[in-house]
Point group: C2
Chain length 148, copies 2
């Protein structure tokens, strides 16, 4: 049987969620909230709309995760000064204070998975995965022919 | 910043779920039900316990997905003849009738993602992903040192 990327990705995704929930429990942060924090670590103060697009999930789920992070004191939200319809989301000092710790937790998972594997192969894997993720993000499902 | 496998896998997973929900809508099958069907396509009549382990999610979620597939007429469940505490899950003719179609949908996604990429690189990616998925499946989180 030809290999399916979906199956492998699904295993890695679910286990990564379990790992993040466990490793970040002491900060009261869930796996669902991690992509918001990591995006803000790179680009603080972006619009809620931009976070939704980055998360590749629906706006309601993004709003829920942001609300939860506000309640825990990790982010705050305010109206954009120039575009009053937009909300800007920013990190609090509490979040910035554990940034290094969170990044360490994320990289630990990558190290755990790639430990002992050929480093050239791992480099190739990252490059192919990056390419596929870009294609997936740009996928227009209505154009994936003959399947709907 | 060092690359994180979690981010790439997360994008690929979410988009794959969206694609599966769209492509299998005409059969009334959701992305959450696909892993059960594909496992049964390879190994029909396994125990519900084995399906839970394969799905890498909790037993309650597996039970819900199986219940949903029973309601739609795709699988049936019966007590094991030798071990009355175990339930065996099997495909119906209705499910077997669309097996080829489902496999085509899954492989189409893989083809879509890998189309145009160097085939040697794709082979390496599959091999590394397979290795990492095995490590992830065997991960004992309580032993991932220093993080909890």
């Amino acid at each position: 049987m030809q290999q399916s990327i979906g199956r492998l990705v699904s295993i890695l995704y679910r286990k990564n969620q379990m790992y993040l929930n466990m490793a970040l429990k002491r900060y009261d942060i869930t796996a669902a909230e991690v992509p918001i924090l990591t995006y803000l670590f790179q680009k603080d103060g972006v619009s809620q709309e931009e976070l939704s697009v980055h998360m590749v999930i629906d706006k309601a789920a993004t709003a829920r995760a942001i609300q939860s992070l506000i309640a825990k004191g990790y982010v705050h939200k305010e109206k954009d000064q120039t575009d009053r319809r937009a909300n800007r989301v920013s990190l609090t000092n509490q979040a910035l204070g554990i940034k290094e710790e969170i990044m360490k937790v994320l990289l630990y998972w990558t190290d755990f998975l790639t430990n002992g594997l050929d480093s050239d192969d791992v480099t190739v894997m990252f490059s192919v995965l990056e390419n596929m993720a870009q294609k997936a993000e740009q996928a227009n499902f209505s154009e994936i022919g003959g399947l709907c």
